[in-house]
């Protein structure tokens, strides 16, 4: 019997999958990442534990997949803060998180390969034998995971967005995202904007702290956030709001105010704004973008190449050893969400390797309900135009309706143990 799990894409989903695969007993876990660093879009995010993400994070901890949440908690600049529409958020430090995650993975015996973009798959008789790196190296494995995300490539950003805006994904340097599922000849789907056009634009930018007035920075560092009311002529139009990937931030407060969050850089809760307009605001006269560099014009486009998958995160189609996680697995947006699906995919990959039935998280858990609900929603045209997250919009509403949202740690651990799943992701299956 085989023994190696190969994970393609080192974002939050791939990192989470690597940990659960290893903890389930996989002897060798190789994580392939095309750039020089892990975390993908997670290098510029930072918001954790807001609204229902708190519940989801605590469920994962109770399920035994808490390592990455602990790393985020340890590297948080702020905990339990509130901003419009969002309660008890933590903000991890985007400048410190990557080395911390990398250390955690290496300490768990995971092998991380950077500068390793896969561009080909060797498939035989309905199984993947190996993936090939752009430079020619062949990496064999027994079970594979596609956690390549849904961000870019430049062609997507050009055709469906405002062009390449030079974001942290750095397509020109490392080569654009390539989907393993697509290489297997499995038809994928694309998320849509409410108007039916393809993709969705990422909803926040990073500004350089040094370029903003000290009193704003002081306020932001003390409380976690700063809110600057926008004059009428700078208020964001409804159409721009609805094009955003992050429906949970498509609230009035975000259109009428500039909301700045302290994630190490200054996280500006807007998809983009022309620099000369941003500079009209008091205290922002000298402001500068750090991600995307051209935040003046647009942001990265996401949600192309979504894999058909079941609730165990197995990719549906004619390949028998392929799982997925993260944005690849559908329209569930966010770091927490990527860790949830990645963790389940990684664990089930090892089960498949051991010839065991995969586990499916029950709908008595928010995490299980979200995985099933989003899969079902994505089967409809209207569902493909929405975005889902534990932190707001349609899925958080559903969480509340079904009494799945809580911050009561006892209740969460009870619901996990009554499902018989306490510590499941720490148990070896091989």
């Amino acid at each position: 019997m085989g023994k190696r799990i190969v994970i393609v894409g080192g974002g939050w989903a791939g990192s989470a999958a690597a940990l659960t695969a290893r903890n389930a007993g996989a002897e060798e876990v190789i994580l392939l990442e095309r750039t020089d660093s892990l975390l993908g879009t997670g290098l510029v995010g930072g918001i954790m534990r807001n609204n229902g993400r708190f519940t989801a994070a605590e469920e994962m901890i109770a399920l035994g997949a808490g390592h990455l949440f602990e790393v985020c908690d340890r590297n948080s600049r702020h905990v339990n803060i509130e901003f419009p529409g969002h309660k008890h958020a933590s903000l991890y430090d985007v400048s410190k998180i990557e080395p911390a995650v990398r250390r955690c993975l290496v300490e768990h015996g995971i092998e991380i390969w950077t500068f390793s973009r896969i561009t080909e798959a060797d498939i035989d008789n309905g199984s993947i034998n190996a993936v090939l790196l752009e430079g020619g190296t062949r990496v064999e494995g027994d079970v594979f995971l596609d956690t390549t995300g849904s961000c870019g490539a430049q062609s997507q950003c050009t055709e469906n967005g405002n062009g390449c805006v030079m974001c942290v994904i750095r397509c020109p340097t490392f080569g654009p995202r390539v989907s393993l599922v697509e290489m297997c000849g499995i038809a994928e789907r694309n998320g849509k904007k409410p108007d039916g056009t393809l993709g969705a634009m990422s909803g926040s930018c990073k500004l350089s702290k040094e370029t903003i007035a000290p009193e704003i920075i002081e306020e932001m560092e003390r409380t976690g956030l700063a809110i600057i009311p926008l004059p009428d002529e700078l208020k964001v139009s409804d159409s721009k709001q609805s094009a955003k990937a992050c429906a949970q931030y498509a609230l009035k407060a975000f259109a009428e105010n500039l909301i700045l969050l302290d994630t190490g850089h200054v996280k500006l809760m807007l998809a983009y704004m022309p620099l000369h307009k941003l500079r009209q605001l008091p205290g922002m006269e000298e402001v500068k973008y750090v991600d995307p560099y051209s935040g003046t014009l647009g942001n990265s486009m996401r949600y192309s190449n979504l894999a058909p998958r079941d609730d165990a995160l197995r990719v549906e189609g004619d390949i028998d050893n392929l799982f997925c996680g993260g944005e690849k697995a559908g329209l569930l947006v966010g770091h927490t969400e990527a860790i949830v699906t990645g963790s389940l995919g990684g664990h089930n990959a090892v089960r498949a390797m051991a010839g065991k039935e995969p586990i499916i998280l029950p709908d008595s858990l928010a995490t299980g309900d979200a995985i099933t609900n989003v899969r079902e929603e994505m089967e409809t045209e209207a569902g493909m135009c929405k975005k889902y997250t534990f932190s707001g919009s349609v899925y958080f509403d559903r969480m509340k309706e079904r009494n799945l949202y809580t911050t009561d740690l006892d209740a969460i651990s009870k619901r996990v143990s009554s499902a018989g799943l306490e510590g499941i992701f720490e148990q070896r299956v091989i």
């Binding site: 390969w113 500068f115 790196l133 062609s155 390449c164 490392f174």
Partner: protein
């Protein structure tokens, strides 16, 4: 491939012998499945010739070489594992 320098003039679309070029949101794009690099029609790719701002790079191979990624330029994987120094060669040779 038409690069972001495209100014939307439409000259390439008009001259393309196989109608492989069409306007997209912010610029014109070449449908790579239709483009034949003008083979059999013109000695030099037509869009490249007529583009006033040098944004049309129809020959995929040449474009890829020009836009070579780190790996294309020879960077090898760098491997991180427990108990070892990062192994590999980071700088393209």
């Amino acid at each position: 491939m038409i690069t972001a320098e495209c100014i939307n003039c439409g000259a390439c679309e008009m001259d393309c012998p196989v109608r492989a070029i069409a306007p997209a949101n912010n610029q014109y794009v070449i449908d790579e499945n239709l483009c034949i690099d003008c083979e059999g029609y013109f000695p030099v790719a037509r869009c490249k010739l007529v583009c006033p701002v040098n944004a049309c790079a129809p020959e995929r191979i040449k474009y890829l070489a020009k836009a070579g990624t780190m790996a294309k330029k020879g960077a090898r994987p760098v491997v991180f594992r427990n108990g070892g120094e990062p192994a590999g060669e980071m700088i393209p040779s």
